[in-house]
């Protein structure tokens, strides 16, 4: 038996989140005494899978899988689950993987656990730890179904090197044509997305207006970070909705989250709490964010941030 990892790729490169799912799957496999099979779709450079523990790779090349259509991808996984007697499916927490996990759960009539942050504490019964109440709590949940679908929360398990020499098996799949068509994809190229970012630099109403966002962008650029904002900032139209993070916006699970001029309301914190290290810059020492942060500076953003930018530039030049 084998654990199936859906390793998502983009532009012929496996995503970081996919390598984390693979690392998780490999460790789970060791615990369960099973090997891991990576499912690769329309990719032909398997190096990163070989460096992170793949025992087998199923290589599918298919025109009709060029775009992510959830039904078609679920169909492929369904076929593999049957032909390879798969009982455990591991996904990442990318938008598409979570989309797929939910749909697969219905199709395979099997439990799907999202936001899983650790290896199961026990295999029999199968107990997973996941976040709930928007990061305000954890639950321990037993998966009962024979087939188990797990999506691993971003940056929770980490990426673990593990060099292997996997078998590569090319297989053909048959895909029914779907009435669902993707008409258009508008994607910023080059910018780091909140979902993929190791570091997120986020601005709140304390920045006073969109004309000051160059500070956030400059800092983010120096750190290779994504930019984000609090909800009022996107409601006011200072920044696009896609940057709004928090309980009702995008979740952030980065290694570092830097909040500038954000008060730290409970709804904001709920969405960013699973970030590992939190830094706050705020001129009000009573701002609730200081209770949630690991590091903080009490000060005026318009003085502290330019200073920070300057020091980071100097540091980058020295390296």
């Amino acid at each position: 038996m084998s654990i199936l990892i859906y390793t998502e790729s983009e532009n012929n490169e496996f995503k970081k989140s996919a390598l984390e799912a693979l690392s998780y799957g490999k460790a789970l496999g060791e615990k369960m005494g099973e090997n891991v099979t990576c499912l690769s779709i329309n990719s032909n450079n398997f190096n990163s899978l070989k460096q992170h523990g793949a025992d087998r790779i199923i290589d599918i090349q298919n025109q009709s899988l060029e775009k992510f259509i959830v039904k078609n991808y679920a169909e492929v996984i369904h076929q593999i689950v049957i032909s390879e007697s798969i009982k455990t499916i591991i996904l990442s927490s990318s938008a598409n993987s979570k989309y797929l996990g939910a749909y697969l759960s219905g199709k395979l009539e099997s439990a799907y656990m999202s936001n899983v942050i650790e290896l199961p504490s026990e295999i029999n019964p199968f107990l997973v730890k996941r976040t709930c109440y928007t990061n305000k709590a954890f639950s321990t949940t037993e998966i009962k179904s024979e087939i188990k679908i797990i999506s691993v929360s971003s940056n929770s398990f980490g990426i673990i090197e593990n060099v292997t020499d996997p078998d590569i098996k090319k297989i053909d799949v048959e895909i029914k044509s779907s009435d669902l068509k993707i008409k258009k994809i508008d994607k910023q190229t080059g910018a780091v997305t909140i979902a993929d970012a190791d570091i997120v630099v986020s601005g709140g109403r304390g920045l006073k207006g969109p004309e000051n966002w160059h500070l956030i962008e400059k800092l983010a650029n120096l750190l290779g970070a994504a930019t984000a904002c609090s909800k009022p900032v996107s409601d006011l139209g200072w920044r696009p909705h896609s940057e709004h993070v928090g309980q009702t916006g995008k979740p952030v699970a980065s290694n570092l989250y830097i909040a500038i001029g954000i008060s730290g309301a409970i709804q904001h914190l709920a969405g960013i709490n699973s970030s590992k290290v939190k830094v706050v810059i705020n001129n009000d020492p009573e701002a609730p964010f200081f209770k949630a942060a690991d590091y903080g500076i009490v000060g005026d953003a318009f003085e502290v941030v330019p200073e920070l930018i300057q020091k980071l530039e100097a540091r980058n030049n020295n390296n």
């Binding site: 679920a74 938008a95 598409n96 989309y99 996990g101 939910a102 749909y103 697969l104 759960s105 199709k107 099997s110 439990a111 799907y112 999202s114 936001n115 107990l127 976040t131 709930c132 109440y133 305000k136 954890f138 639950s139 949940t141 037993e142 009962k144 179904s145 779907s178 009435d179 669902l180 068509k181 993707i182 008409k183 508008d186 994607k187 997305t193 909140i194 979902a195 993929d196 570091i199 409601d235 909705h241 709004h244 309980q247 570092l256 409970i266 709804q267 709920a270 590992k276 830094v279 200081f290 209770k291 949630a292 942060a293 690991d294 590091y295 903080g296 500076i297 005026d300 502290v304 540091r315």
Partner: protein, 248 residues
């Protein structure tokens, strides 16, 4: 056009989260329950479609009697009819099974769920319904335009927006953007009075098996105190992030 909006009854976003009975039950004491924010965006869109598409809007919750005030609020916002499938919800899967079973008989053109609930955060119920019924499923929806039996939908993807087209029936995962916050309907007196006349039906659950069982909850450990750096010593912050936290 026949629309179903699935409503999750959740603790208000400001609620303090606590557990009782040895961490097995959510402490409802002093907590106000509301329509799950993502569902409210979906409901508002559906109510708009009453006029634009001559739609009939049904709201549905799988839950015990305590969810009824939330369903009444949905009626006051403009839904035509509310259904409660009577059981305490066990897991996302069994909830989705109940909803699928119910929907199969009703032939909804559109089933709107939220992208995710803010309590369970499964992000699953809509997808499971679609998987069971073999309907199209599009989540993280920020725009919807229906013409005849054809839907044009935009959804948020990592780093952008994707536009898709498909036939009905369709299951949607709604989120902010489908309508804006400022579009949300605050029920007025007339809406509240009318809601009292609208049907709120209770139907018996099929009691499908759960595929997962929650064994208990716990809260994160208390956090260490924040380390403060003086505003004129930002070098120190860089040093801490580089050498202590090792994140840059």
């Amino acid at each position: 056009m026949n629309i179903l909006v699935c409503i999750s009854n959740v603790p208000d976003t400001t609620s303090k989260i606590n557990f009782v009975e040895n961490g097995t039950k959510f402490d409802k004491n002093g907590v106000q329950f509301v329509i799950n924010p993502n569902d409210e965006f979906g409901l508002t869109k559906a109510v708009w479609m009453k006029e634009s598409h001559n739609a009939a809007v049904t709201v549905l919750t799988v839950g015990d009697q305590s969810v009824e005030p939330t369903l009444r609020k949905c009626l006051a916002i403009g839904a035509d009819k509310a259904i409660r499938i009577d059981c305490s919800s066990k897991d996302g899967f069994s909830v989705a099974k109940e909803i699928s079973h119910f929907s199969q008989k009703e032939n909804f053109d559109l089933i709107i769920c939220g992208r995710e609930s803010i309590d369970y955060n499964g992000g699953m119920v809509g997808g499971v319904i679609a998987g069971i019924l073999d309907y199209n499923f599009i989540t993280n929806c920020v725009d919807l335009d229906i013409k005849g039996t054809n839907a044009l939908v935009s959804r948020e993807i990592d780093g952008g927006i994707e536009t898709l087209e498909c036939n009905l029936p369709l299951v949607l995962g709604a989120q902010k953007g489908l309508v804006e916050e400022s579009d949300l309907i605050i029920p007025n007196m007339r809406g509240i009075m009318m809601a009292r006349q609208k049907p709120l039906e209770t139907i018996e659950a099929q009691n499908f098996n759960a595929e997962s069982i929650n064994q208990g909850y716990h809260k994160p450990d208390a956090k260490k105190e924040v380390k403060l750096v003086k505003a004129d010593e930002v070098d120190k912050l860089i040093d801490l992030l580089e050498n202590e936290a090792k994140v840059i």
